[in-house]
């Protein structure tokens, strides 16, 4: 008895030692980013072993006062929000049908959408936006960006929702059928209220994935519609290495995702693997 508890203690101690090593490797760069965001540029260019330097909000103040960062946060919200809402409007009913009946070719189509490299879509979208004049019209430019980001949010939304629909017992819909509900009524009044947890998962993950996505906005956004990742990338080119500003910007960009990791981690793996791992 006592030897088994000491054995277990030893196994715990070994595992936790492994945890500490893993935490050092995988958390330190992120903590380094957060820490640097609150250090002055003078301190950042100094020694990293100088951990006692005072913390400051100067970098964040600069972002908002000199670079009007709130404007780019707004752009990110328009693009990620728009593509999330559209992804839901299209994906929520589609996932229901896919969960309820065998659609030939649907697996292949989603695999194709998952595997196609982003650059493949960028040129057609760019030429389209030139043709419709979206390079000089902000509203049109946002529309093009939202449509491009739909390539990310729509398949994600569908794949996340299918298992939620599959969990709903069919007997409920059969009862509704007997009560004379049309397919639309059955879906809106019986099924939809039951998948609200799934929808909240789909909303959070679609929003984050769209928020983080870099390539489409890099090629398609105008200077007025640039979202956060692109403006942060453009900061690099601005001569002096304002690392404090870059780290403050990185911190703001990462904030929604880091909060999400803590809140919805169970769904994260499913979202990242496109449904391959449950």
């Amino acid at each position: 008895m006592s030897s088994s508890t000491t054995n277990r203690r030893r196994a715990y101690a070994l595992t936790y030692m492994g945890y500490i090593v893993a935490a050092l490797i995988f958390f330190v760069p992120v903590l380094f980013m957060l820490w640097s965001a609150f250090r002055s540029n003078v301190d950042i260019t100094g020694s990293i072993f100088n951990i006692g330097t005072p913390l400051t909000l100067e970098n964040f103040q600069n972002l908002f006062e000199r670079f009007d960062f709130i404007y780019y946060i707004r752009n990110s919200f328009i693009i990620a929000g728009g593509s999330t809402i559209l992804g839901l409007i299209l994906g929520v009913p589609a996932a229901y049908v896919i969960a309820r009946r065998a659609i030939p070719g649907i697996g292949f189509t989603t695999l194709l959408a998952r595997m196609a490299p982003g650059v493949l879509f960028v040129v057609p979208f760019f030429i389209l936006s030139m043709k419709i004049g979206a390079t000089s019209n902000d509203a049109l430019n946002f529309a093009v960006l939202i449509a491009a980001h739909l390539i990310i949010t729509l398949p994600l939304c569908i794949w996340l929702l299918i298992p939620f629909y599959e969990e709903i017992p069919k007997s409920l819909e059969e009862a509704a059928l007997i009560d004379g509900c049309t397919p639309r009524q059955r879906f809106m009044q019986v099924v939809l209220p039951l998948v609200t947890p799934g929808i909240s998962v789909a909303v959070t993950l679609s929003f984050i994935f769209s928020w983080n996505y870099f390539l489409f906005a890099l090629a398609l956004a105008s200077s007025n519609t640039m979202p956060l990742p692109v403006i942060a990338f453009n900061f690099i080119g601005q001569g002096s290495s304002d690392y404090g500003g870059l780290m403050a910007a990185s911190t703001l960009i990462s904030l929604p995702a880091i909060i999400l990791t803590i809140v919805a981690q169970r769904w994260l793996v499913r979202g990242l693997t496109g449904g391959a791992v449950k």
């Binding site: 492994g18 945890y19 893993a22 995988f26 958390f27 992120v30 020694s47 409007i89 229901y96 049908v97 309820r100 659609i103 189509t109 695999l111 959408a113 595997m115 196609a116 490299p117 982003g118 650059v119 493949l120 879509f121 960028v122 057609p124 979208f125 760019f126 030139m130 449509a147 390539i151 729509l154 819909e173 059969e174 059928l177 007997i178 004379g180 397919p183 879906f187 983080n212 870099f214 390539l215 890099l218 990742p229 290495s241 690392y243 870059l246 780290m247 990185s250 911190t251 960009i253 995702a257 880091i258 990791t261 803590i262 981690q265 994260l268 793996v269 990242l272 693997t273 496109g274 791992v277």
Partner: protein, 311 residues
């Protein structure tokens, strides 16, 4: 709400034998729900892919002026261009290095995460932070770490008495520096899938091996690994698809340089379209990249199918 219940038959009810499933009135009449998503997919995915194929067979400038059909000339140009072959080499180099290291480290970390200790679930969730952090933020923080003079990496090297390294500015080092970032970002993701796989393994084969006198190392290699094969293949396939399309971190940190040392096909395809402004040539590059992704995915699927057939 009406109190009388009327039993209605759905419109268009057909004989029971129709379709692969037995008659299912519940899914009747739901196909219209699928149509908007289908239209969007055709518009957003299928048409751009077809357009890219057409683009690759014609000669077009970035403003959209097309001077007509040129057959396979863009592909011929591509195959004659040493930049393409070097880019293919870089793509495969980064893919193989990252995949092998992430799989090996992922197995170790995955084993660690499969042990039942208090706090396991929370730790496992927090480990996903690198994967979910925007790649722009990841690239920027690693640029600060890699900075030749004031970066943390060189400060640490010098503190322990080693020479500083030119992480991103030298042709020899840049691909490895990029690989380190990807390995850092995605190993926990691998580990999570693997740990889920380890936790779902049956215990009987391990017990049988113990009875036969196998030690822990033998059990891990000859019992555990073969049983994990299909989970490992799924995890590796997912990473493969992303590694072949590797773009964000590279484009932000080096833009493919120095002198093409990190110019993967994806970065090359982007630069050809938007910096060299040759969309038709870029289309040929992008299609060859797509073909490569499909080819490697097909190999994985084939291996996986064969390995499950054997079982």
């Amino acid at each position: 709400m009406s109190t009388t219940r009327t039993i209605t038959t759905p419109r268009g009810q057909r004989p029971v034998t129709r379709g692969r499933k037995s008659f299912d009135p519940v899914s009747q009449g739901t196909i219209p729900f699928l149509i908007p998503a289908l239209v969007a997919t055709v518009g957003l995915v299928l048409i751009p892919v077809l357009y890219t194929i057409w683009l690759s067979l014609t000669d077009q400038d970035i403003a959209g002026n097309n001077s007509g059909f040129v057959g396979f000339e863009n592909f011929a140009l591509m195959f004659q261009n040493s930049e393409f072959w070097y880019s293919l080499f870089v793509t495969l180099q980064l893919f193989i290095v990252c995949l092998v290291v992430e799989t090996v480290l992922g197995l170790g970390l995955g084993y660690l995460l499969s042990r039942d200790v208090p706090g396991r679930a929370i730790f496992q969730g927090l480990l996903l932070i690198p994967a979910i952090t925007a790649s722009v933020a990841v690239a920027l923080v690693w640029m600060l770490i890699y900075d030749p003079t004031l970066g943390a990496a060189n400060q640490i090297l010098q503190a322990i008495g080693l020479d500083p390294v030119v992480w991103l500015g030298s042709r020899e080092m840049a691909p490895w520096s990029i690989a380190i970032v990807d390995i850092w970002q995605w190993t926990p993701f691998m580990a999570l899938i693997i740990s889920a796989g380890i936790r779902s393994l049956p215990s009987e084969p391990f017990e049988a091996a113990s009875i036969d006198g196998a030690g822990p190392v033998k059990k891990a290699f000859f019992v555990g690994l073969p049983l994990l094969r299909s989970v490992l293949l799924v995890a590796m396939l997912l990473r493969t698809v992303d590694l072949i399309r590797f773009f964000d971190t590279i484009y932000i940190m080096t833009q493919g340089g120095p002198v093409n040392a990190t110019n993967t096909l994806n970065v090359y395809g982007y630069r050809a379209a938007f910096i060299d402004q040759e969309p038709s040539y870029a289309a040929a590059l992008q299609l060859s990249l797509f073909a490569l992704v499909i080819l490697i995915a097909a190999i994985f699927t084939f291996v996986r199918k064969r390995s499950t057939d054997v079982e």
